[in-house]
Symmetry: C2
Subunit: 426 residues, 2 copies
């Protein structure tokens, strides 16, 4: 079925005239029809609205752009002019912002079909979503980009937007067994993306194929697509166990050990990276920054609609308003200092492999899992991938996290493609 | 008349029971009634809506917060749930976003009365606004926070929000003869503030008194008000002529020379600061970043409502889409490099005095003036003030710019208060 094509494959097939956009979108809609009652990945889907975009592509005189006719999922904290944007909150049920977020407008201008809005955890926070993990509905898909992770993993749509403030792209990617990409902080325009914490929020991508990242990123940044750049031969890869290694589960430990050996045999130079002691403070610093900034970003809802916020979010906001300003600025300083140190450390290697999630998706639909291993890197503002390389004891996906130097997103794409090819040969 | 009170004076008088919020708001509304046909500072004003907020304060059992009952103006690119938010564009005429921007919600929670929406230049860009300079209606008030600058200067409201991407707080402050404050980049929550360029946009304040800055900033950041901290005695002040000194007009040259001598006599240690050669590139780098990011932030309007954008903005967006990604990242690198260098330079002094605008407001209502002298510092992300210290040959206001170290906003407040007291004794 066409819904199993990657984004890049679908682009190529439509360009060659092998398939129509309508046929592709229909196959995605059929898959949703068959599975959505169980998976619940979509906050809004209007088949006719999706098909009308597809038909407009098929009947256009020329290709609208490099993403012509291929469907895409949009996390429901991201504004769309023709579909409601609900933020996963009853406060904004049916909310029509009246414009497209910049990222949506840019994908549409490049020819993509906006298939629908994917479920977000309430305001991209911590409350559990209705979504199930497509590999095992008893398990969480991870949050907060739960719907994007589940929809892409379940072949409902080839790619979707996620956003990450702690681990909201990489956790659903890891738990659902797909690729998560978080670019360098502040890379993609955030206009129209509802904020959680402005000095941490990053818009990113969830896909099933590496080339999709390059294709979509090029459209968002306005640069040419470079799918077949000069290959990577012997990258210097640092294995980093971090200060949180004691809460890593055996399946993640094994995934990293196998990655280390396999990549070493494939020509990678392997380095052990021990982070400076001050990096221990990143987890708590990120938590302070996130809740301090979220409290302020959510102040309208807090002061006017408090009873419609989940107990989890109410606790989070109360915590955020409780921090003293000096505690917040001290946390910001920890982030800035560690960013400077990491940039110097990066002179000795090209990329870091570190834990992504602790292990497989927990069989717990009341939690979205733990973001400790991801959140600390998120505060470092560096680009990173969740790469689905392994399976755990319950046959659920396990990912490794691949982290690059600040601003070196193109190089990291090449390394990630190489790493994934070694660990999961096509 | 009560409309001439500063924000802090009005807070104190209401707290003491000397005046009511309703009486204060009525005096502001009367001033607007008398002057608005000429000045045109307001995009939206509903006297009854303002008075109902004032009456709610007056009849409340206790003070709502430290800003209880005092009116504030909100630039019309900032979302308000009870007033339209038009972005100065016909595309968003009558737009009701359905929520308050974080900064508005925080001021309301602290007790402020939202008086109305002040005129913004179209999407906080470069097209001329309808607003006139209250000191001479033939002159521009500066942009893009034109309405906030004119309304505060003309005693229509004691304080208002501005936003700055190049010089949009300090230019109206300088041309209208009031105080402009731009905090360190990323200090105040930007949720609900329509973006121009996300790595430059900064929310700030326009007031007529220094204490207002501290009072409002404390409410936005969630920290105690400290109006009477330990005084400044002998600050080290660097006089910086910048690489753009040749386009400074005599009145600004004179203002800086007088500031230098007066502050020196008052006990300041004066240093000459010659910026490194690489700082020459800041003006063009800021321009590239601003237009590259603005094009993307405005992509929905560009692709769907292009004919409703002004010719100026259309040219700006076309330029922004024309930059290559590598040109943009090179410009970003210039900014980051100069920020690092400036932070090191700051070890030798406490604050910098530099030109703010070239000179008085130009007698040209088709321009908002030149932001060259402000924009370069804006890219450096440092906190700064426009301080109205002088008058020019046409008896129009002339300001100096006072710039502080990244993150040292509290210290800069103390220096600014001291500087203003020396140059314009109360």
């Amino acid at each position: 079925m066409l819904n199993e094509l990657s984004f890049a494959e679908a682009v190529a097939k439509i360009e060659r005239g092998d398939i129509t956009s309508e046929r592709l979108v229909r196959d995605c809609l059929d898959r949703i029809e068959a599975r959505e009652d169980d998976v619940r990945a979509w906050a809004f889907i209007d088949p006719e609205l999706a098909l009308s975009q597809a038909r407009a592509c098929d009947s256009a005189d020329e290709r609208k752009g490099p993403l012509h006719g291929v469907p895409f999922g949009v996390k429901d904290i991201i504004a769309t002019y023709d579909m409601p944007t609900g933020m996963g909150s009853p406060i904004y049920e049916g909310n029509m912002p009246g414009y497209d977020a910049a990222c949506v407008a840019l994908l549409r201008a490049a020819g993509a079909v906006i298939l629908g809005k994917t479920v977000t955890v309430e305001f991209a926070g911590m409350a559990p979503p209705p979504t199930g993990n497509p590999h095992n509905l008893e398990c969480t898909p991870g949050g907060s980009s739960s719907g994007s992770g589940a929809a892409v993993a379940d072949f409902m749509v080839p790619a979707a937007f996620g956003t990450q403030t702690a681990g909201s792209i990489h956790r659903p990617a890891a738990h659902c067994g797909i690729i998560g990409f978080k670019p360098t902080f502040d890379s993609y325009s955030l206009h129209g993306v509802w904020p959680a914490a402005q000095s941490l929020d990053t818009l990113g991508l969830l896909t099933r194929a590496m080339d999709d990242i390059e294709l979509l990123s090029a459209a968002l940044l306005g640069r040419p697509v470079q799918l077949n750049r000069s290959g990577v031969s012997s990258p210097r890869i640092a294995i980093c166990k971090t200060h949180q290694w004691d809460i890593v589960k055996p399946e993640t430990e094994e995934a990293i050990a196998i990655a280390r050996d396999t990549l070493n045999k494939a020509g990678a130079e392997i380095i052990e990276l021990t982070l400076p002691k001050s990096f221990e403070e990143l987890v708590s610093a990120r938590d302070i920054i996130s809740s301090y900034e979220r409290a302020r970003a959510t102040s309208h809802e807090w002061f006017n609609h408090r009873d419609q916020l989940s107990p989890q979010l109410q606790r989070g906001i109360a915590k955020g308003f409780g921090w003293q300003y000096e505690q917040y600025t001290a946390a910001m300083k920890i982030g800035a200092d560690c960013r400077r140190k990491l940039d110097i450390l990066f002179e000795d290697f090209d990329a870091i492999i570190a834990p992504c999630t602790a292990g497989e998706a927990p069989p717990d639909r009341n939690s979205t899992g733990d973001h400790t291993h991801i959140g600390m890197w998120n505060l470092l503002h560096v680009p990173s991938y969740a790469l689905p390389t392994h399976k755990g004891p319950n046959n659920m996906p396990v990912a490794i996290q691949l982290i690059g130097r600040h601003g070196a997103d193109d190089a990291l794409f090449d390394f990630a493609k190489w790493v994934l090819n070694q660990l999961v040969p096509a």
